[in-house]
């Protein structure tokens, strides 16, 4: 379980997050929505301990990660996988090498075991036949699926998605959302999705938090978004895509 308790983050004089509290339960999909540049991706980086908040606590399975050193964070980070907005694939490596990269780097597994795990993820991401292709040869949707496969490679309990369907065509978006749903239903994983596309939220999320001007203005069941009287939420529900 992930918990953010009263987290505040400032960049210089600018307050990005103001006393944000958020809970993501195991085996549930939580969406964080909000306009571009509001600090949604920052929340994912805080959860992974890639950046430290100015105040507040971030608990991963009950452990506050804010005072931990980088080396102490590595085992905690492996409980989660992340799919970056731009995928962050290594250009010089093939699909298989990208997926197996962190296994080779961080675990002492036999090459046979690494290959088995990579094959499993290639099948999950429906990328058979593209094992030896480099990312530059793949479409946006396929790169995203490689990134999802890579995020799954340590068998994490939770996957973090940063704008998983941004910039994808409708068919690819549908495939990606299908993969995210199957994580929850077939693999029993939890997920945090930050997005500005409301349709994605209604398709896959169990609950949603709305981030607006650095504060959480809504946190509840996805369907109850329709009942909110907050003018910003009413506008995003009717307009479907947030742009600012």
């Amino acid at each position: 379980m992930i918990e953010l308790q009263e987290v505040t983050l400032r960049y210089g004089n600018r307050e990005i997050l103001k006393r944000v509290s958020l809970t993501v339960e195991d085996n549930k999909i939580k969406a964080v929505v909000g306009p571009s540049g509001v600090g949604k991706s920052t929340i994912l980086k805080l959860i992974l301990g890639l950046i430290k908040p100015n105040s507040g606590k971030i608990l991963i399975d009950g452990v506050d990660i804010t005072p931990l050193k980088e080396s102490q964070l590595y085992p905690i980070r492996r409980k989660m996988g992340i799919v970056f907005q731009g995928n962050a694939l290594f250009d010089s490596l093939t699909v298989s090498e990208n997926m197996g990269f962190f296994l080779r780097e961080n675990l002492k597994l036999s090459e046979k075991e690494i290959e088995r795990r990579v094959e499993e993820q290639i099948a999950f991401a429906s990328l058979q036949g593209y094992e030896t292709a480099r990312p530059e040869k793949l479409s946006g949707g396929m790169k995203k699926r490689v990134a999802i496969g890579r995020a799954m490679i340590f068998n994490p309990a939770m996957i973090l998605f940063d704008e998983p369907t941004a910039g994808l065509d409708p068919v690819s978006s549908k495939k990606i959302l299908g993969l995210i749903s199957s994580l929850r239903h077939k693999n029993n994983l939890g997920a945090v999705i930050v997005t500005h596309i409301i349709d994605d939220v209604f398709q896959v999320a169990d609950s949603v938090a709305v981030l607006y001007k650095g504060e959480i203005i809504f946190d509840g069941e996805t369907e109850s978004l329709h009942d909110s009287t907050h003018p910003f939420i009413r506008s995003i529900v009717s307009e479907k895509i947030l742009e600012q």
């Binding site: 980086k45 992974l48 890639l50 980088e70 980070r77 970056f84 962050a88 962190f102 780097e105 961080n106």
Partner: protein, 264 residues
């Protein structure tokens, strides 16, 4: 100048000073972390070999071209000057001192700053912008151990033989020019070189190689790591890395020479 303009100017200065000192602090911590991770070299030996090839073998042509040019130029210019004093036979000695103590390592340092430093800055900057460095951290790999430390070790190791090669190439081209342009017998040239060189001359020259390796690698990698602002940001950080490391090489060149020559 109005009071508000002065206030605006002073707050700008204040902000840039603050940014400068924060950057210095970050650079200091970054450098310490790069050295602390050296014991992990066994784990990253493949990365080390890749970087040794890039810094060493691949840099050889540019190091050879520049040192041959400098050696030849020195032979022509210094030879002409010595001829005026009737001391042309001293050409070997003066060229050897200039190349081994100063110009060999300096030219090699500047060329490697441009070649190896720019590659480091651009590659790591692009990785930073595309979140690959964040990805390394997110999946449990220390990016400094994986990306910076092997580059540092590779530079520390290969810059020394590169200096030797640059020295030899510079001296050899000077010897050829001395023979064909100034009509100095090669025996006279080389006799003025080796028997007169002392340990101090080599220490001055070869001590610069690891110093330059540290400067080039850490400055260029650090600038890559702090790149921001898209592709233009990668360009800015790469240029900054080259400019700063080249400037530091010139300063370090002077101080290493001064320190060794005064104390040996």
């Amino acid at each position: 100048m109005s009071q508000s303009a002065i206030d605006k100017f002073s707050s700008k200065v204040d902000l840039s000073m603050k940014e400068f000192f924060l950057n210095m602090q970050e650079f200091f911590l970054f450098s310490i972390r790069a050295f602390i991770t050296i014991p992990k070299i066994k784990r990253y030996w493949r990365d080390f070999l890749d970087q040794a090839k890039i810094a060493g073998t691949d840099s050889l042509p540019i190091v050879l071209v520049s040192s041959v040019s400098i050696g030849a130029l020195l032979a022509v210019e210094v030879g002409n000057l010595l001829e005026d004093f009737g001391a042309k036979t001293m050409l070997g000695r003066s060229t050897a001192l200039s190349v081994i103590r100063e110009l060999g390592p300096l030219i090699m340092g500047l060329m490697l700053s441009a070649r190896y430093g720019s590659r480091n800055g651009a590659e790591l900057g692009a990785m930073k912008i595309s979140e690959q460095i964040d990805a390394l951290r997110a999946f449990g790999t220390d990016p400094i151990a994986k990306l910076v430390m092997p580059r540092l070790i590779a530079a520390l190791i290969v810059f020394i033989p590169l200096t030797a090669i640059a020295d030899f190439a510079g001296l050899y081209s000077a010897a050829l020019l001395a023979e064909h342009y100034h009509k100095i017998d090669p025996g006279i040239f080389w006799n003025a070189v080796f028997p007169r060189l002392v340990l101090k001359d080599f220490v001055v020259g070869f001590l610069k190689a690891p110093v330059f390796a540290i400067i080039i690698t850490l400055v260029s990698c650090f600038n890559g790591f702090i790149a921001q602002g898209g592709t233009a940001g990668v360009g800015r950080s790469t240029i900054k890395g080259i400019v700063v490391s080249s400037g530091l090489i010139l300063v370090a060149n002077f101080y290493v020479s001064k320190l060794v020559l005064e104390n040996m």
